[in-house]
């Protein structure tokens, strides 16, 4: 373990301060590295409050971050504060929505009109017109019945023409 640390320290020091010797502290570098990382994360805060102790702001920002994360992840029923609308605000919003709805719906009229059909069957306004229409021609009727009868007889004539064995033994047939 000690060996690992010394190796790490060696790399760090050689890049920053030149060559390390055997008296270089093993624990100095990891701690300073930690502080450095925190400083980077709260760079904005530091630049604004350059006179404050950097360690304190780091701690506070870390604390607030932890608190925020906890608040977003934990369900705290007691802390849920129901936001009640003021009567005045409620009335204003209802008015605003009423005006806006008319504007928005006027723009989307075409898209919405199709989706408002509540019935599959549509109402026929004057059924007597359709009902009093001309009857079918005798020829057309004859064509329909004859072609239908032909189709029915054709369907009835469908048969399986049995030529080969229905069950074929796989493998066995090839070997023999």
């Amino acid at each position: 373990m000690g060996c690992c640390w010394s190796l790490l320290c060696k790399d760090d020091n050689s890049s920053q301060n030149g060559e390390p010797n055997e008296r270089t502290h093993l624990l100095v570098d990891p701690i300073s590295n930690n502080i450095h990382i925190q400083r980077v994360s709260s760079e904005n805060l530091l630049s604004r409050n350059s006179n404050d102790a950097p360690k304190k702001t780091d701690e506070q920002s870390a604390l607030t971050r932890i608190l925020q994360e906890t608040a977003t992840n934990v369900i705290d029923v007691a802390a849920i504060d129901s936001h009640n609308l003021q009567q005045q605000e409620y009335i204003e919003r209802v008015k605003m929505y009423n005006i806006k709805i008319n504007q928005v719906l006027a723009g989307n009229k075409g898209a919405l009109a199709n989706s408002l059909k509540s019935c599959l069957l549509e109402d026929v306004p004057q059924p007597e017109k359709i009902l009093s229409g001309d009857l079918l021609n005798r020829e057309d009727r004859h064509l329909m019945t004859s072609s239908l009868l032909a189709a029915v007889s054709a369907i009835n004539d469908i048969r399986v023409d049995h030529k080969e064995d229905l069950v074929v033994p796989f493998g066995l047939g090839l070997n023999s």
Binding site: T72, N73, V74, I75, V77, I80, S82, H83, N84, L85, Y90, R93, V94, M96, Y97, K100, I101, N102, V104, L105, A106, N108, K109, A111, L112, A113, S115, L116, S118
Partner: protein
């Protein structure tokens, strides 16, 4: 156009026995469109009651089961179905005997109306 939508919702509501009303509100319970019969219980369509649904679904999303789509509350006299159509909430109020499956099946019919009404809230 609003009247047409209301008429359509009335027709939908009248086909389901025991359904007293359909309301489209924002997350604070402010109504955008409301179709209710006289039998609908007053507390169920108040903003306080409806906004509680939003609080509940916000907290419910932390359970790790995904987004809340529908919340069904069955009381001794009434049944309330609330659908999350962000940024809107659609609330159905029905009596105890009403068939909830029929209400849930209305979602497809409600969706186009909800999506056009949602534009109203997002534009503000």
């Amino acid at each position: 156009m609003v009247e047409e939508i209301k008429k359509n919702l009335y027709e939908i509501a009248s086909k389901i026995e025991g359904l007293y009303g359909i309301t489209f509100t924002d997350r604070d319970g402010v109504p955008l469109l409301k179709v209710t019969s006289e039998s609908a219980p007053e507390p169920a369509i108040k903003p306080n009651f409806i906004s509680t649904f939003c609080l509940a679904i916000d907290q419910g999303s932390k359970l790790g089961l995904g987004k809340t789509n529908t919340l069904i509350c069955t009381y001794s006299q009434y049944q309330i179905v609330q659908m999350n159509k962000h940024p809107l909430v659609v609330t159905f109020v029905a009596n105890q005997q009403c068939n909830l499956g029929q209400i849930l099946a209305l979602e497809a019919q409600i969706d186009p109306i909800a999506s056009s009404l949602a534009l109203t809230v997002t534009e503000i």
